[in-house]
């Protein structure tokens, strides 16, 4: 566990996507480092994601709106 990546963008699934807007408010914006901290016990859902100094529980459908680029170098 503890996969790190960098946010590339948050994609809206439709017009006025409140969930995507909220993700941006949480700090999911381009260039921000994110880390996958834990996964839920059933179906590995929800995901616990660290963004900035805060941990958020996101369902997979929510997290799927965030495109990230995986870190290549240590």
């Amino acid at each position: 566990m503890g996969v790190s990546a960098t946010v590339f963008e948050v994609n809206d699934t439709g017009p006025k996507d409140a969930i995507a807007q909220r993700l941006r408010d949480f700090g999911f914006v381009a260039g921000e480092p994110v880390r996958l901290v834990a996964r839920g016990p059933l179906g590995a859902d929800p995901l616990l994601v660290q963004i900035g100094y805060t941990r958020f529980a996101l369902r997979r459908a929510e997290a799927a709106r965030v495109t990230v680029s995986l870190e290549t170098s240590p």
Partner: protein
């Protein structure tokens, strides 16, 4: 208008869980609910204090919000108050933004969003104690210069921890900020800046003013690795829940028995001291037998609340919600429903109100509709009485108290039915679009024993006041109904058979006979609608008036069949025997339809469950 001119109106605004309410309590000397998860405050709360200058300051505590683009009913309140659109409430003279100093990356973004309103404001950097412990250093002067507003450090959980804030608020002169104030008028929300803009500003500010050794607290990372582990995590959750039920029984029993014996002895003494007559009967059969039986459950209730308080302050509750989210989703709920539902174990009313922090209206309604199935503390006396009377005090499997196991099963019955009901609602619903979770997990905190002691004292007083207030009134009323009209001359049975209550009980008995209730239970059900515990005090009164000398538990054990006891337990798992809960559902959902649906389905389930329980138990020879 001098009085109002001298009053300064401030509002505490900020992200969820940054300590606004703790600050509010420190400033105003009140005790609003503080707990370690996002979404504790769901209403606008008002308080006052006298500033050192002699000026009266009116403080508003607001629900936490992540953004002015509100996502839930509680966030909408905050948005409306700070922008002056809240009905009957002009925009505050001064906005006191509160931010958690250990979580500035997120919290400063909201501060900047508020700053765009162009209102007079200042920033309180709260949790400075936690920030220091983590080695976070903040250049406050530089931050204030960058933000263009005063910044003060606070520690909301320490006496005197808001001294700097009080001084800074007192230094505020409304006239100096005239340009920004349109007295009483609406504030216009500036075109929402694109999120990356504000985040970019925050990033620059943090780089210039804050140094922190690491982004998270090391202890949080360690604990989360264990507590959120797919296997250990669920095991820990189950163990905690089970411990609570064991404790409620085994720890409380000696205390309970002590109180019960004391009250019975006092009643007996009073009975022998008073002359025979109506007054003696009212005091001995009504007040002592009735109230005493309920009062003895104080230890159980305090132990339950002790666990709830510790869980609330530790930060564990959102973790439990995380672990259970997927299962709750399958049942048509969300992990966010977990906290309102857990609160409903204390009482469904605050539980139903806490659903305001659930953003999705469908999830919220489902949670409200199943909250009454969580066994509230007022049902505890009923369960405890019947368990003590019918289940032997025995140890099973080496460590478990059998009575605790039965209690756990009853709670579980409520939970399982709640999940089934939620699942049914989900199947019936046509709108199947996505539901959101998006829940913040706070830092762990060690609960302060002093706060918990005060909280328990308050809960204890609430319970005692309930006993001395509504329960006393109903008990006395029941005594009257059970004593008059007086029996005809030459009557063979005790007076209660000929009384008004006796007649009501026997009329209801027609409906409840198939589920095994005797007419005494039927009488007790009626006042039990106003407060569930009253069912116990009413039974005690009814039997005492019926000429029984023993304590209620002994009477029940001797006179009821096991099938009747099981049927009454099943009834209490479901029955909507609480008018205040129904009134709360009406207020929270603004719909009578929901109230009718709720009461209807609960009564239906209760009658069906009791019928099945009674008939099966009887067939098995119980």
């Amino acid at each position: 208008m001098n009085g109002t001119a001298a009053t300064l109106r401030i509002a505490l605004v900020g992200n969820p869980n940054c300590g606004k309410t703790a600050l509010f309590n420190l400033l105003t000397g009140t005790r609003q609910k503080v707990a370690n998860y996002a979404g504790v405050t769901i209403e606008r709360k008002e308080g006052h204090y006298l500033a050192p200058s002699g000026r009266n300051v009116r403080v508003l505590d607001l629900p936490g919000a992540y953004s002015l683009a509100a996502n839930s009913p509680d966030e909408a309140i905050t948005r409306d108050v700070v922008t002056g659109r809240y009905p009957g409430e002009a925009a505050p003279d001064l906005i006191v933004c509160v931010a958690d100093a250990t979580n500035l990356r997120l919290h400063l973004r909201f501060v900047l969003e508020i700053a765009r309103l162009g209102r007079p404001m200042l920033l309180a950097l709260n949790m400075m104690d936690a920030a220091k412990r983590r080695g976070i250093h903040i250049d406050v002067a530089a931050l204030a210069a960058r933000l263009g507003m005063p910044v003060v450090e606070t520690i909301a959980v320490k006496r005197g921890g808001a001294a700097g804030l009080i001084a800074q608020i007192d230094a505020f002169e409304p006239l100096a900020a005239l340009g920004a104030v349109v007295a009483g008028g609406n504030v216009h929300i500036p075109q929402a800046p694109s999120a990356p803009d504000l985040h970019a500003q925050v990033r620059v500010m943090l780089a210039e003013t804050v140094t922190m050794p690491r982004r998270t607290a090391a202890i949080d990372d360690t604990l989360d690795r264990i507590v959120l582990h797919p296997v250990f995590g669920l095991a820990i959750l189950a163990a905690i829940m089970f411990l609570i039920f064991q404790a409620v029984f085994s720890w409380a029993t000696p205390l309970h028995d002590g109180i019960d014996a004391g009250i019975q002895a006092a009643g007996a003494w009073l009975g022998s001291a008073l002359p025979d007559g109506a007054l003696r009967s009212l005091l001995v059969d009504g007040v002592f037998a009735g109230l005493g039986t309920v009062l003895a459950f104080l230890p159980q209730i305090l132990i339950l609340f002790l666990f709830i308080f510790v869980l609330e302050e530790s930060g564990y509750l959102p973790r439990a919600a995380f672990l259970l989210d997927r299962m709750m989703l399958a049942a048509g709920l969300t992990g966010r429903s977990f906290i309102p539902l857990l609160s409903s174990f204390a009482c469904a009313i605050p539980g139903i109100m806490a659903t305001r922090s659930i953003p999705d209206p469908r999830d919220r309604l489902t949670t409200i509709l199943i909250a009454p199935l969580m066994t509230c503390s007022a049902r505890l006396p009923v369960y405890a009485l019947l368990i003590a009377a019918f289940v032997p005090q025995r140890t099973v499997a080496g460590i478990f108290n059998l009575q605790g196991v039965v209690l756990f099963t009853l709670y579980l019955a409520g939970i399982v039915s709640a999940l089934l009901v939620a699942w049914t609602i989900k199947r019936l619903r046509r709108d199947k679009s996505e539901h959101a979770l998006m829940m913040e997990l706070p830092s762990y905190r060690v609960p302060h024993p002093r706060d918990i002691a005060i909280g328990l004292y308050e809960r204890g007083m609430i319970f005692i006041q309930r006993v001395g207030g509504i329960i006393l009134a109903l008990t006395v009323l029941l005594w009257f109904l059970s004593s008059f009209p007086a029996p005809p001359v030459g009557a063979s049975e005790p007076a209660i058979h000929y009384s008004l209550a006796g007649m009501i009980g026997k009329a209801l008995h027609v409906v409840f006979a198939p589920i095994g209730f005797n007419w005494q239970i039927c009488i007790a059900l009626v006042p039990g609608l106003a407060a569930r515990e009253v069912a116990v005090s009413s039974l005690a009164t009814v039997y005492a008036l019926g000429g029984n000398e023993d304590g209620l538990q002994a009477i029940v054990a001797a006179q009821w069949s096991l099938a009747t006891a099981l049927s009454l337990l099943a009834w209490y798992v479901f029955a909507p025997m609480c008018i205040s809960t129904l009134a709360t559902v009406k207020r929270e959902t603004r719909s009578w339809r929901n109230v009718v649906v709720l009461a209807g389905y609960l009564f239906g389930l209760a009658y069906f469950a009791s019928l099945a329980t009674y008939q099966i138990a009887k067939a098995l020879g119980a």
